[in-house]
């Protein structure tokens, strides 16, 4: 049963590694967007520290969005999505594998590079740690929610814009609690509560989103 999840993850990771430019472009997008803010605002440390969580999270949301339109579109175009739907397993498990692979390709690199970028905003070591933890915990939810949008807009012309309109509003809770965790740490309140809520959202997204996406994919394949 779980073999299929690992099989899909292995396949998607292998495909992603054959096209490293795609991973690199999302990461560079994240780096550049985040770096523009300190350059534009100037060396006002207090202001930068206040802005940091929001800027990093908004950039992370947008960087995740970059790779979403292709989550199912490539498989749809070459016919492999049909074969995945015909595999003798529930389609939800296949999508779970794809969501996890998407996170490993797009969310995990962002979390790894975020602390380096945080230094530009003069964040303290504690805040950097919480920032990394929050991005690690929150990005799987982004991949899960994004998969629903990607499945719903599959095969539509100009689906990319519609996908952003569908998905970005649903990212708001993750954004609020993700940025809130860092804010709370900076102001000395402690970010544990926010991090727990982020973890809860991720568990809910990984648990439910693949099945909703699978239902949308079945409609797209008719």
């Amino acid at each position: 049963m779980h073999n299929i999840v690992f099989a899909v993850i292995a396949r998607d990771l292998r495909l992603a590694l054959r096209r490293p430019a795609d991973i690199a472009s999302a990461v560079f997008f994240f780096v550049i967007v985040v770096s523009l803010f300190p350059l534009g605002i100037g060396p006002e440390v207090d202001l930068l520290r206040k802005l940091a969580p929001g800027v990093l999270w908004v950039a992370a949301l947008l960087a995740t969005m970059l790779s979403l339109p292709r989550l199912f579109a490539d498989d749809h175009r070459d016919g492999t999505l049909e074969q995945l739907a015909l595999a003798p397993h529930p389609l939800g498990l296949v999508v779970t594998g794809k969501v996890i692979a998407h996170w490993l390709i797009s969310g995990l690199p962002l979390a790894l590079i975020a602390p380096v970028l945080g230094i530009q905003f003069d964040l303290t070591a504690d805040a950097l740690l919480v920032l990394t933890g929050a991005i690690l915990l929150g990005t799987p939810a982004l991949s899960g929610i994004g998969a629903i949008g990607a499945a719903l807009t599959l095969g539509l012309r100009g689906g990319g814009v519609l996908l952003s309109l569908l998905v970005l509003p649903l990212y708001i809770p993750v954004l609020i609690f993700g940025a809130g965790a860092v804010d709370a740490t900076v102001s000395g309140l402690g970010g544990e509560g926010h991090l727990s809520l982020l973890a809860a959202m991720t568990i809910a997204a990984i648990g439910f989103a693949p099945w909703a996406s699978a239902a949308a994919l079945k409609i797209a394949l008719e």
């Binding site: 073999n3 899909v8 292998r14 016919g79 074969q83 008719e222």
Partner: protein, 205 residues
């Protein structure tokens, strides 16, 4: 084994066919014919369960395929218009990945052997994007060489193949039927498949 009963297909505003039914037993081949747009591919997609019929029912071993779900799909091999191969992967990786996703056992040796049979010896480790259309089709067909599932649904399997490959594929299909398998296929070119019972179904006539 495979039965269709009173199927109706509506695409958009048009009714493509209605009241369609057939019965197919082990070792039998069903040839679907009909002009373009007659609903051949739609019927195939109903048979694999991707397109729910407007009315009617499809049964496999006496049970409706919707109720069987995974059990039915475990016995089904579908080859569509699209090759379902990944351009970035090599033919060997494609074959192994497809087998793994379909939960069928396939050793690397068996996969290499299948690729040799379809005439891709020496190209196992070349990414599929460097292959020609015909060669890509052969990678997709290599799946059939190693497939031992009971029901084959083939949509235009002979497209983009040269004469020798058409004969070879006809042999593969007839070997499948002799093992007691079933096959449903569409084709525009008349191909002689040396097998037991060949049934014909003409759509839109």
């Amino acid at each position: 084994m495979l039965e269709a009963d009173n199927l109706e297909c509506v695409r958009g505003e048009r009714r493509l066919f209605a009241g369609l039914g057939f019965k197919l037993e082990a070792g039998e081949l069903l040839y679907l014919q009909g002009r373009n747009g007659a609903g051949k591919t739609s019927l195939l997609r109903m048979l694999i369960g991707l397109l729910p019929p407007e009315t009617g029912e499809i049964r496999w071993r006496g049970e409706p395929i919707r109720a069987l779900g995974d059990e039915f799909r475990a016995e089904l091999c579908y080859l569509g218009h699209l090759n379902a191969i990944k351009e970035e992967l090599t033919p060997l990786e494609n074959l192994l990945a497809a087998a793994r996703l379909a939960a069928t056992d396939l050793s690397e040796d068996a996969a290499l052997d299948a690729l040799e049979q379809v005439g891709l010896a020496g190209r196992e480790d070349l990414a599929c994007k460097y292959l020609s259309q015909g060669q890509k089709r052969r990678v997709a067909l290599a799946r059939l060489v190693v497939d031992r599932r009971a029901l084959w649904i083939l949509d235009e399997p002979f497209v983009a193949l040269d004469v020798a490959a058409v004969d070879w594929l006809a042999g593969i299909i007839s070997a499948h039927l002799q093992r007691g398998g079933l096959a449903v296929m569409t084709t525009h070119q008349p191909v002689d498949i040396p097998a037991g019972t060949v049934r014909q179904l003409r759509l839109g006539a």
